[in-house]
């Protein structure tokens, strides 16, 4: 699992590559917490190169979503492959986290 960070229109974009499962969920959590700065008020996770996410990974997403919600920061996901979108749909997480088809669309929605 690799995370690369970029910024566009004040949106922090973290691109996640590889897989997130029980074995590296903590690492994923630490990496995201490290990447998200105190001042970041708009966070986007780009999943275009994510190959798999387990429920342990979903839990990290939920933790980050709560953290950002507490400080009124925007949070969204984009570019989910069909199997990964299905994971979000089955668990119902698509109801509480906004999901966009592309990075451009997401940045347009939450950026300024």
């Amino acid at each position: 699992m690799e995370i690369s960070v970029d910024r566009a229109n004040e949106v922090l974009i973290a691109k996640v590559e590889g897989r997130i499962d029980g074995a590296n969920a903590r690492e994923f959590e630490d990496a995201l917490n490290g990447a998200i700065g105190e001042d970041d008020s708009k966070v986007l996770l780009d999943f275009s190169t994510l190959s798999y996410i387990s429920s342990a990974g979903l839990r990290v997403i939920l933790l980050i979503a709560r953290l950002l919600q507490k400080r009124n920061a925007a949070f969204a996901l984009c570019s989910l492959s069909d199997p990964i979108r299905e994971v979000f749909e089955i668990s119902g997480f698509d109801k509480i986290i906004s999901i966009h088809d592309s990075q451009a669309e997401a940045v347009d929605k939450i950026g300024r």
Binding site: R19, G22, S54, S55, A56, R59, I90, S91, F93, I96
Partner: protein, 387 residues
């Protein structure tokens, strides 16, 4: 190895219960498995706990004079922190059960007492307590960590039912193959009023001891809510609200819960973010149960859970499973997936529920090959018998 009897303190203000317990449990007492102590209210119970060292377990009624069971529960840790308490509550008394669980009760049974159920509950409780004690005894950190993982795994195993309904109308079988790293699957099958059967399958998001504890409370809350409410959607709503109350760790549990009527084949269900179960027809074709607009439990408070119904025809098989089945991977990182699961039954619909589970596990293992199993694999299967 000689085993000293487990000491069980029974607290109830009904004088008949002592007689009844001594009679029903006499074989276990005579064989040296259990020693029973009795008290008629919370005050007497605390006196007993002070008099008799090393009481292992307390079985307590809730409504009693002088000191009630809930007050007693709050007092027990001051005297004996390791003790396991099981409360006896009125049927469907979710409010008191909830309070009892919040005060550290390990489990509950309902009145009138079903002694078979009581025996299973006592065994499960004592087993769980043993596992904890073993872990706590260890001073060495690494050993303790290893022990904790074992404890979590054993806790998980100890709450799963091993006997299932088998009648002229239906046959049910459920089992789990745990992953090496402790996962968080559980299932439950239990009777409801009117000959109906509650079916539950669930998967906790995390692993290890915290997940095992979350699993234990999810399972208990689900059972408690299930006997207090009829509608599956209402049951999941109640459990979700209870789980989200204090959930700093952001754990969650995907849960499919159904009320099955073996006489008619009707299955009322609500799906809280769990993989959609499969109905396998006698010709080998199968259909996925439509979702009910649900969300994994523990994520968000106050949400409503929809519900739906499906009618099982004679010969239909309802298969509940966890993502350990569909997300099992082979050496190339490909997932087992839904198509392969449906293919298991395409040519040969299984004759029995146990055979169905075996067929699924076999197909998953053959697919995964040498790739280690990273998640628990669980199936709960119901067969609607030919009329």
């Amino acid at each position: 190895m000689t085993q000293t009897p487990y000491k069980i303190l029974v607290v109830d203000d009904e004088p008949d219960l002592e007689h009844l317990m001594r009679q029903r449990m006499r074989r276990d007492v005579r064989s040296g498995l259990y020693t029973l102590y009795f008290a008629q209210n919370g005050v007497e119970a605390l006196e007993r706990l002070n008099e008799v060292p090393d009481i292992d377990m307390v079985l307590s009624d809730i409504n009693m004079p002088r000191m009630d069971g809930l007050t007693l529960l709050a007092q027990i840790p001051n005297i004996a922190p390791d003790i396991r308490a099981v409360v006896v509550s009125a049927y469907g008394d979710m409010k008191n059960i909830r309070t009892a669980m919040n005060r550290g009760a390990f489990d509950f049974i309902t009145k009138p007492i079903d002694f078979q159920d009581l025996r299973v509950t006592i065994e499960r409780t004592l087993k769980n307590m043993e596992e904890w004690r073993e872990a706590l005894e260890s001073r060495d950190k690494l050993v303790r960590l290893q022990n904790e993982l074992n404890v979590a795994s054993k806790m998980q195993q100890s709450i799963l039912p091993t006997e299932f309904p088998d009648s002229e109308h239906c046959e049910i079988y459920a089992n789990m193959e745990p992953a090496r790293e402790v996962g968080g699957d559980f299932f439950d099958v239990f009777g409801l009023p009117g000959g109906k059967i509650a079916l539950a399958i669930a998967d906790v998001s995390d692993k290890g001891v915290p997940a095992a504890l979350f699993m234990m409370s999810s399972r208990t809350l689900l059972k408690g809510s299930a006997i207090g409410a009829i509608e599956p959607g209402a049951v999941l709503k109640e459990v979700n609200d209870l789980l989200t109350e204090e959930n700093e760790a952001a754990m969650f549990v995907t849960t499919f819960y159904a009320v099955y009527n073996p006489q008619t084949g009707q299955v009322d269900y609500s799906n809280g973010g769990h993989n959609p179960p499969l109905v396998v027809h006698p010709d080998g074709s199968s259909t996925l149960l439509p979702g009910t607009d649900g969300l994994a439990l523990g994520v968000f408070p106050g949400v409503n859970f929809g519900q739906s119904a499906v009618m099982l025809s004679p010969g239909d098989l309802l298969l509940l499973y966890t993502d350990g089945v569909t997300e099992a991977m082979d050496a190339d990182g490909e997932e087992f997936g839904m198509d392969r699961l449906q293919a298991v039954f395409a040519d040969a619909p299984p004759a029995s529920t146990e055979a169905a589970n075996k067929a699924v596990f076999k197909a998953v293992h053959e697919f995964a090959g040498e790739t280690p199993q990273s998640d628990d694999i669980t199936c709960v299967t119901v067969l609607q018998r030919q009329a």
